[in-house]
Symmetry: C2
């Protein structure tokens, strides 16, 4: 049977499972990337694995979110990341060198390879045929340690692009059209493969705008095949030798197919406050605009800023509108500067920023209250810009620039009619992407051979293998629907300690009981007791890591949220399901003992365990877990499990360079 | 008798007093400038004056400190400032257009004129013969309202520069040498006039580096005469017609004279953590450097960045060192970009920032813990960089760049020897400063004709004329040495409300008594009681403004700190001196009544007032005040006094356009 592009790459990298949608598969990871806000924990976890070097073909650490270094903790993080990259053999991209996805695309993204990244927009290099997936920090650490990445086999959907984009319509309008049609949930459990003559008509930078923002569909990944456009892009990047041809077999079977006729597209805009709230720009025209920002991993490339520069040449930004350009990479900045476009943009009234994620994640250039901001970014969730009740629109650089010139939202076609001499800039690649690599420090050039930890960077705790005998107090009895926000609040005053588990753990469950963390530490063991749906909400790993640090051994709950339960396994906490009667009878402070040999029981597949309370009465608790989850739990969590595999005879998950 | 340059300009602008050192003089102000963190309060105070337009020849509002707009309050402030400039007829410089001192120098600074600015580095344009003085916000508001500025007549010191700078020594080394000799207190109450052949050898940008950093000597101002170099600079800025010749008379008498032989200077560096901790660079050589920043109002011009670019051409920043360039103005950025230098700097590994004060005031690029930062700024006070226990060195762009190349502190002469092909870049001006003015919105181009106040921008309270009868409770009894930090804490979580007096007032004296603000508001009148030296510390006007807002009528203290006492007059609070016995007898909560007619007594020059406590016992309190202070106090404070002068027959202080 013929294969899709995704299936071909997965097949090449499969180490466990079958390529059946919904089945869990394990795949070998060729490349990993990390950014600065997630990377610190990844490296602390990697440190705990006790390996000498990164085991993937390539690892790259970028500094892009906190480039303004507003707090010494940011600067300390960057220094730690540089030292970790140097110590373990990863590339290090300095703050100001650009956004991980852009710099990775320019330097490392390779057709046919797998990439795992600790950022949700990791799928960006799908635009040149790389299968790239975003994941949690622990998954990245394990992959860097040579372990496989486990994921549910996605459905592969064919997005057939017909025709060619008309003037003023852009790649951004293609992904906005996808969002308009499918909504932000339309891609869950799917990989979108873009095919057809319309796909072939797009350059790589246009393709990566689409694959990048596929994340907003909820997709596992998005990918294009490779062709002359891919080869051409790689050659202009000086990496023509990395070209590999990739196309679906003619008889490839897709789970679904969608057709978009590019020739029918027009400039679109996502209105506040969801990326799928998409309408034609003309429907929003006339809205006064206070701020325009061009940048981000979606539309921050040379090819995105050049159209703005051409449109603004000899013109000025409206006096009541602030326009900021934050390039996605220094490569883009440098080439634009060398060609004179940066000076033109400055002359027009643009505030030209260093290369950064910045405003896209609410760091800097927060909109004024009760104002309108047009951005070429990928997300406009309410409050993401840094102010509640914001009015953020998402659009192409062309639409953004038209608004900056006019001071209000306007379809650039109408602005062109009005001005008479405004031409559609179209897409144009530089002859050579000849930016300097001075800010990208290769493992050979590394300046550090040991970790440099500032005072806010702690060690990551590693758990011992599961013991035979588990006993301790019921440390906290909670109600139904406790969220990960209850367990570890996500407010910035607390999350800034994300690299400092001892400090962060002080806030564990503080929203339920302020005394909890102190009591748990003193008890040095014990259980959490909860009702239904414990751990709902985000995939935040700290919600399992911090209780583990405090010495919690297990959670007795009526039911668990799926992702949090997986995190409990990953951090070695035993998740036991109890019935309502048992829940009702257990009181906070009761002495709890698992009567069975827990270590042995978990390893052997035992599903029911006897819980004795206050040496007085007993109840039954269930452990629902796959074989792999039992292995991980028995080992003391995923880090310990991975470490064990390295120390013993290497099992299922093979290091990539073996 | 012959006059110094300063005396000539003061004489031209004198509206009150005599030019005798130590005497208070009133001078007419031609130009005012404000930056974004002080400007909001200035405009709120100006609004309270109820005038239609700015009364000075020129007013300019810059946005330079909070250009990153980390909080919507920053962005709201910028919008408010734009609206205020538009409404009242000031120039408005958008965020990203540059630092107030740089943009003012480029566009408005004019020989022979007076400039008052709400920033301590206002003396910068002294480098082209403008007499420029930094002052508090209320002084600026009053000056914009046409009132005179009152200042103690300074001593004029002649700094005679002989010889010429050798290779690798720069203007920065001249002012560092001044600091080495005189210390950070050496300029208090003085104006430094730079004369002699060495002064003539310096270009205007070099001169402004010196006059800018004269602030670190504690000087009232610093100034150069004008000559062909001044005319040349103005012509390159397209303002040759604003040239005026200015030189001291041959028989001018100076209070003191200092001679510096420029030919004997070598590269200097101010070590942590004081600008006068100056040594030759060679004494600090070998220290490993983590961060290098070129920028600020001292050394952020085209002429400061160009040497760095020349030194870095074909070279790279050391891999362990981060180098950031934050231009002082977009004019500098644009010209550097147009000439190709920006691309060269990026290629060398420089993180090229938007134009901002930024890191100089601890906003962004905070050093890592236990690290070394070399900066071309003017201040390295401990903690100013944003982290306690910082190690910040101050030096020239040449010394900073040499350190970036080598990764450690090195005298550039030694680095030149080592590299063989590193030439001293020298100073070079562009043929024309042909940057765009798109970001400088003139009053004619204004887009607003009413104030736009976000939710964090409150009104400023205006006090009624002093009443005849003052009575109320002793709201708070305090000990000796209460500082302005006790009265209004300067922590950033509190000072962000500086444009919101009602909100900020909630924190008044909270470090002494958390219930104070609420109690004062409820009492709606009453007195503060304190021991010796009340109000010591900073010149923070909010320390008088907030108690005034809360309804406090006066302060009974054993003694007052000088500047705070002036602020009490300025905000209409009666400062009465009591003896130790009286202080001891008064208890918090006592009913206090001034028996005399206070309004009449203040106006008529009465020095002793009778205080009756609890209708039980009496004591004498003294009012020590000049005639002008009595007028201000009687009017309800300086704002009310200025307003009164506009409404009645205009007295002593004449609007500049009268």
């Amino acid at each position: 049977m013929g294969q899709t592009i995704t299936e071909k790459i997965l097949d090449d990298h499969l180490v466990e499972g079958e390529l059946e949608p919904g089945e869990e598969i394990g795949i070998e990871i060729d490349q990993v990337l990390m950014q600065d806000t997630t990377g610190t924990m990844v490296w602390l976890q990697f440190e705990a694995l006790d390996l000498d070097d990164v085991q993937t073909e390539l690892a790259a650490q970028y500094c892009d979110h906190q480039t303004y270094q507003f707090d010494f903790k940011n600067t300390d993080d960057h220094r730690f990341l540089r030292s970790a990259a140097g110590t373990y053999g990863a590339h290090f991209s300095r703050p100001g060198n650009g956004i991980c996805h852009n710099v990775h695309k320019e330097n490392f993204a390779a057709p046919g390879k797998t990439l795992l990244g600790s950022d949700s927009h990791t799928p960006t290099p799908g635009g040149l045929g790389q299968l790239a997936i975003g994941a949690g920090g622990l998954d990245i650490a394990v992959a860097m340690g040579g372990g496989a990445y486990y994921v549910e086999m996605p459905e592969i959907v064919n997005v057939r692009l017909e025709g060619e984009l008309p003037e003023w319509a852009t790649a951004k309008d293609i992904i906005l059209e996808m969002l308009r049609r499918l909504s932000v949930k339309g891609g869950v459990g799917k990989v979108f493969e873009y095919t057809g003559p319309g796909a072939e008509s797009l350059t790589v930078p246009e393709r990566t705008t689409i694959t990048n923002m596929g994340t907003e569909l909820g997709a596992t990944s998005s990918i294009f095949g490779t062709d002359e456009k891919t080869r051409d892009y790689l050659e202009r990047q000086g990496r023509g030798d990395e070209y590999v041809e990739l196309a679906p077999d003619e008889d490839a079977e897709y789970a679904d197919e969608l057709v978009i006729d590019l020739s029918e597209l027009e400039p679109l805009i996502a209105q506040p406050s969801m990326p799928d709230n998409v309408v034609p720009v003309r429907e929003a025209a006339g809205t006064s605009v206070d701020q325009v920002i061009i940048g981000s991993c979606t539309n921050g490339g040379y090819e995105d800023i050049l159209p703005a520069a051409k449109m603004l040449e000899g013109r000025e930004v409206d006096k009541k509108t602030e326009m900021i350009i934050a390039p996605g990479s220094k490569q883009a900045s440098e080439i634009l500067a060398r060609q004179g476009w940066t000076a033109e943009l400055m002359a027009a009234g643009v505030n030209f920023s260093e290369a950064t994620c910045g405003a896209c994640i609410g760091i800097g250039h927060v909109p004024a209250s009760d104002s309108v901001s047009l951005r070429t970014f990928n997300r406009n969730f309410e409050g993401r810009s840094g102010i509640e009740d914001d009015n953020v629109y998402l659009c192409s650089p062309e639409v953004a620039t038209a608004a900056a010139i006019k001071g209000e939202i306007v379809d650039p076609r109408d602005l062109a009619d009005e001005l008479g001499d405004l031409e559609a800039p179209g897409i144009e690649l530089p002859d050579q992407y000849d930016g300097s690599k001075a800010d990208l420090i290769s493992p050979d050039e590394a300046v550090d051979d040991e970790l440099i930890k500032g005072p806010n960077i702690g060690d990551v705790p590693l758990k011992e293998p599961l013991e035979s005998h588990l006993a301790g107090p019921a440390l906290l009895k909670m109600t139904d629907n406790i969220t990960t926000d209850h367990i570890i609040p996500a407010t910035s005053d607390i999350l800034k300690f994300r690299s400092n588990v001892p400090k962060l753990s002080e806030f564990t469950l503080s929203r339920v009981d302020e005394t909890f963390a102190q009591r748990a530490l003193e008890a040095d063991g014990g259980f959490l007791v909860a009702g239904e749906n414990y751990g709902q909400g985000s995939s935040r790993e700290h919600a399992a890591l911090c209780p583990m640090y405090l010495g919690v051994e297990g959670v007795l709950a009526q039911s668990f949220a799926r992702i949090h339960k997986a995190n409990l396994f990953n951090f070695g906490l035993v998740p036991l399901t109890i019935d309502e009667d048992t829940y009702d009878r257990i009181e906070q402070g009761d002495d709890i003992e698992i009567v069975d040999d827990v270590g042995e029981g978990v390893r052997s597949g035992q599903e029911e365990f006897t819980v004795r309370v206050n040496d007085d009465w007993e109840a039954t608790a269930r452990l629902d877990a796959s074989e792999r989850e039992r292995e991980i739990l028995a080992a003391g969590g995923k880090l310990s499990w991975t470490k064990q595999q390295h120390e013993g005879s290497r099992g299922g998950a093979q290091p990539a360079d073996d």
